[in-house]
Every structure is written in C-alpha cells, then in structure tokens.
C-alpha cells in the first residue's frame, strides 16, 4: 500500500530485525533517511485526521459565518444588508438591557457552578474512597442523568416544581404553606435544572483526581497525628485542586451557554444569552445581532476552555509527579 514504516519498528531489537527486514525487490520497503521517514509519518497522521477535519471544517465555517454576519447591518423594514460595521457589538455593549442579560448569564452560571461544587465535592470524595457495589451504584447515579435526554430531565423538573407539582402539593397538604411557591418559570427553577444538568461534570473530574492521590500520603498524615479532617484539609483538598479547577471551569462554560433549561423551565421569562440569541434569530429575524451575540458567547467559552485545558494539564503533571 506504500504506507510508511510505523515508528515502533525502530524499537525492535536487533534479533527481531531480520524478520521485519524488507522483502528483496520491494521498492516501498527500501531503507530511507530518517528525515524522509519522519515526513512520511507526518503525512500519514494528517491523512488519518482528514475525514475528521472535514466535519470539523463545518464547525469552523459556522463560526466564520457568524463572525461575518455579525458585521452586517440590519433594518427592521429591509432586513439584513451587507456591511462591515462593528455597530452590533457596540449596541450590545452600550445598551443596558443587553449588558444586563450578559451579566445575568454570568451570575446564574456562577451561582450554579458554586452550588454544584458544594454538592459535588463530597459526592466525588465519597465516590473516590468507596469501592465495590457502593462505588458502582454512586457512579451509575451520576452517569445516568448525564446520558438521559435533556428534555426528559426538564419534563421531570416541570412536574416536580410546578405550582400544582409534587413539592407544592406536598407542602400544602402538610399544612406548611397555604399557597404554592411559584418556582416554575423563575430563576429558581432554571438554576435547579442547571445544577442537575452539570453536576456530573463537576463530580467526575474531581473524583478522577482524588482517585489518583496516593493513599500513603493520607496514611502518613494520620500516622503523624493529624485528625481525619486535618488530613483532608492539608493533604487531600490541596491535591485535588486541579480537579476542582477543571470541574468548575467546565461547569461554568456549560451553564453559561445552556439552552434547554432557560427555554423549558424558564418558559422564556428568564432571559439569558442563549435565549436572547434564539429570540433574535427565530422571532425578530435580526440575524446580524444574533450572530454578534453568538460570537460573544463563543469568545467567553473559548477563554474558559483555555484555562480548562491548562487546569487539566496541571492535573496531569501532578499525577506524573506522584
């Protein structure tokens, strides 16, 4: 097939070499200079990546298209007209309504992420320390919601949080409340659904880092007289920081751009960036403005992603040092 020699051929011992030596007369197996071999390996790698690159090219193209559309102008009567202006971004920043939505998106994402950390860390800790059937059960509980249709989860929360839903009916029939908590279509219901949606993304990275911590470090701490809690504070917690950082950034990025929770549990009343984009896109048909908002959201995500990659690499180095 003319494919280049594969790198691990070099690692073969001298005894094995005759077996893999080129068949006489086969031109493709003739020994080549290291430089040629390296170039051919690069080419093979790029060729293998090509089909994937085809699909990712559409992602790149989407972003390029959004960036281009965001520079177009828009008129309520005429619709979109080609232009090269930054006025969409200018409008977004100068208008207090849009600025407010942006800040509210960040605030909600922050609240959701912090609550998820508080709920998720002890869970991840327990998961990492347990074993056998308990561990498998805890893992199953985290992973099943992760894979379940996001609409199914939203539907479940609609039933739970509604004015005549399970929580409110229980409170009223128990005599705790006279009238229901109006949670549905408020920030509360959006936040609850979002926490549920992102909690696995907090638990799994933290648990992964906690499991990699050498238990002899904890034992050493306890043997030296530290209490269990001291050991946790001085050894386990600091060593799990990379996991916390990775989980926090991942959760923040996911909740800042979440779409289903504000759409279904917010009922369109909790305006965040994702809903704003959808409204501008499908209702007002102001595509340039929707495109500008999308680019802002992408920029925010990419900044977080950059730090996420650095955080997970930090975790990797940490592990290698052990």
């Amino acid at each position: 097939m003319g494919l280049p020699p594969i790198p691990w051929e070099i690692t073969l011992s001298s005894e094995a070499l005759p077996l893999s030596s080129p068949t006489p007369g086969s031109p493709s197996r003739r020994p080549r200079s290291p430089a040629t071999r390296r170039a051919r390996r690069w080419l093979t790698a790029y060729a293998l990546l090509l089909p994937g690159a085809f699909f990712l090219a559409f992602l790149v193209m989407s972003v390029v298209m959004l960036a281009r559309f965001s520079l177009n102008g828009w008129d309520p009567g005429l619709g979109m007209y080609p232009s090269l202006t930054l006025s969409n971004y200018g409008d977004f920043i100068s208008d207090s309504y849009f600025r407010g939505i942006f800040l509210k998106t960040l605030r909600l994402a922050l609240v959701v992420t912090l609550i998820a950390l508080v709920l998720g860390y002890p869970y991840a800790y327990f998961l990492a320390m347990s074993r056998g059937p308990v561990r498998n059960l805890l893992l199953l509980i985290v992973i099943v919601p992760l894979l379940i249709d996001v609409l199914v989860r939203a539907y479940g929360w609609l039933i739970l949080l509604g004015d005549r839903g399970l929580i409110n009916q229980s409170l009223i029939s128990l005599g705790v409340r006279d009238e229901p908590f109006y949670m549905l279509y408020t920030e509360t219901s959006v936040v609850i659904e979002l926490i549920h949606e992102i909690l696995p993304f907090m638990v799994l990275p933290i648990a992964a880092v906690l499991e990699k911590i050498d238990p002899s470090l904890r034992e050493a701490g306890q043997n030296l007289g530290a209490s269990k809690f001291q050991t946790f504070l001085r050894i386990t917690l600091p060593m799990s920081l990379p996991g916390i950082l990775a989980g926090t950034l991942l959760c923040f990025a996911l909740s800042a751009s979440a779409f289903v929770a504000p759409l279904v549990l917010g009922g369109g009343k909790v305006m965040v960036m994702s809903l704003l984009i959808r409204t501008q896109m499908s209702v007002l048909l102001n595509w340039p403005f929707a495109a500008a908002e999308s680019i802002i959201l992408v920029a925010l995500t990419l900044i977080i992603l950059y730090f996420y990659i650095r955080a997970s690499r930090m975790g990797l180095n940490w592990r290698q040092r052990d």
Binding site: P5, I6, P7, W8, T11, L19, A45, L48, L49, P51, G52, F55, L56, F58, L59, M61, S62, M65, F69, P122, F126, M129, R131, G132, N136, L139, L140, I143, L147, I148, D149, V152, R153, Y155, G156, L158, I159, L160, G162, G165, P200, L204, A207, A208, E211, P215, Q222, F229, G243, S257, F259, V260, R278, M281, A291, S294, L297, V298, T301, L316
Partner: protein
Amino acid sequence: MTSRTVTTAAAVERTSPVRKSRRSRLDFGGVLLRIYVALVGVFLLSPIFIIFLTSFTASESVEFPPRGVSLMWYERLVDHLAGRSGTKPGLSNSILVSAQIGLVVAIIAVVVGVLVAYALHKYVFPGKEVFRNVFLLPLMFPQLVIGVGLLLVFSEYRWFGFFERLVLGHVILTIPFVVLTVGASLEVYEEQLEEAAMGLGAGPVQTFFLVTLPLIRQGIIAGAIFAFVTSFTQFTVTFFLYSGATKPLPMWVYEIVVMSLDPLLAVISILLIALTVVVVVALSKLVDVRRLFGGR
C-alpha cells in the same frame, strides 16, 4: 477488564488497613458525609423517580395525588405508535427518523473517530496538541452556537437535505466521544501484539485491520453507543436544523412539552430512560467511563 480488576484489588489492598483501625471509633463525620452523599444522590435521581410515578397515573393530566394507578398511558402510547385516530400524529415517524439519524451518525462518527484517535495515539507530528484540542472542542463548544452557525451556513449555501444536515451536526458533536473512548482503549492495549504481527510479515494496513481494530473493539463499541444515544436525544443543535418533514423525536416531545404536562411524555421518558440505563450498564462493562471525563 484486566485493568479494572487490578485497580479494584489495589484499592482494597491500600484502604483496608486504615479503615479497620478507624472503624472502632464512632465516626461522626463519616455518618454526616454518608447522609449528604445520599441526599445528593436523591437530588440526581428525583426527576427520574417522579417521571416513573407519573407514568402510572390514572389521571387525565399530571396531578398530585393522582386518581389512582393504571397502565392507561402505556396503552395510549401503543395507540400513538399505531397511529390510531384521536392521537397526536407523527410519533412513530419521529422515532424512525431519530433512529435512522442515530445509526448513520454512529457509523460515521466511529469511522472518523477511530482514525483520529489512532493518529493522535500512534504518531508524533507538528500541531498534534492543537488537533487533539480541536477534536475535543465540540464537547465544550456552545451547542446553541453550533446550531445557529450551521443554520446560517445552510441558509447561505443550500447544501444537503434536512436529514444530512442533522447527521452532519450530530457527527460534529459525537466525534469527541469516539476519540475519547477509542483513545482510552488504545492506551491500555498491548502494542507488542502489533509488533508481533509486523514481525511475522503483516503489512501496516493488515496489522491495523486484523490486530489493532479487534484489540480496541470495546472502545469502538462504547463510542458507537455513545454516539447513537447522543444523536437520538440531541436537542439544541437539532432545534435549529430540523424541518416538519424530518422531525426527530426530541422535537416531537418538545412540541408537546411546551403545551402541557401530558403524562404520555412520562411513558415515552420511561422508555428513553430504560434505554439509557441499558446503555450505561453496557458501557461500564466496556470502558472505564470516568476516564472519558476525568483524564485527558
């Protein structure tokens, strides 16, 4: 399988002595931690639990307490699937559309993802880290933006039909899963077997198909299942790319969920959840799922 047994054995070995010596003392913190973890678990499962209860209601709508227990909504689901009169149309068609898209997506994502994972595992080349991050990017990239962006692309260039556009969008989202599952398999398989095959005179292509692929089949199957389920339940990207004639199941469900809390949706949800649980159990037999999210 082997690595899993080894890690559990190691875990037992290293934790048990400490545990035993502390067991005797009353562990107040440990009890509190257990209660807390149990409550978080309840929180995670509560929507599933309530959907399960709702699916057996005898009421015409979702209400508490329900009028009684019955299987009437399961019967109505059968009516809907059979397309009887008086039911909301299009359910069986939507399931079919979703299944077809999911199948095509799984096949494409596996072929593409295996090649990418293999290249990233086997070769050292300029820009490798950049490529790795780019192929994992859709995991964190706002799905809404992918949907809106593709909508703009296809409004400008009228390529493909709606079915192909949905497949394209879903493949972008699912490539990372295959890259991760197959990558995890590649990390633990025994490279010496490849060397042995080469040593016995097999060419690189022969070795790849006859030795490497069978060795990483667990990662491939896991990736395919992941891709299918992700596509089958995908909402956000689908939302911007579907049409009335090509309406996947999540869109059919969405059109009802914005109208009312129809208990029929609880029955559909239960079936989707059952599918998911089967998939998770199958996945946990195939790969260490935590690797997909924890390690890079």
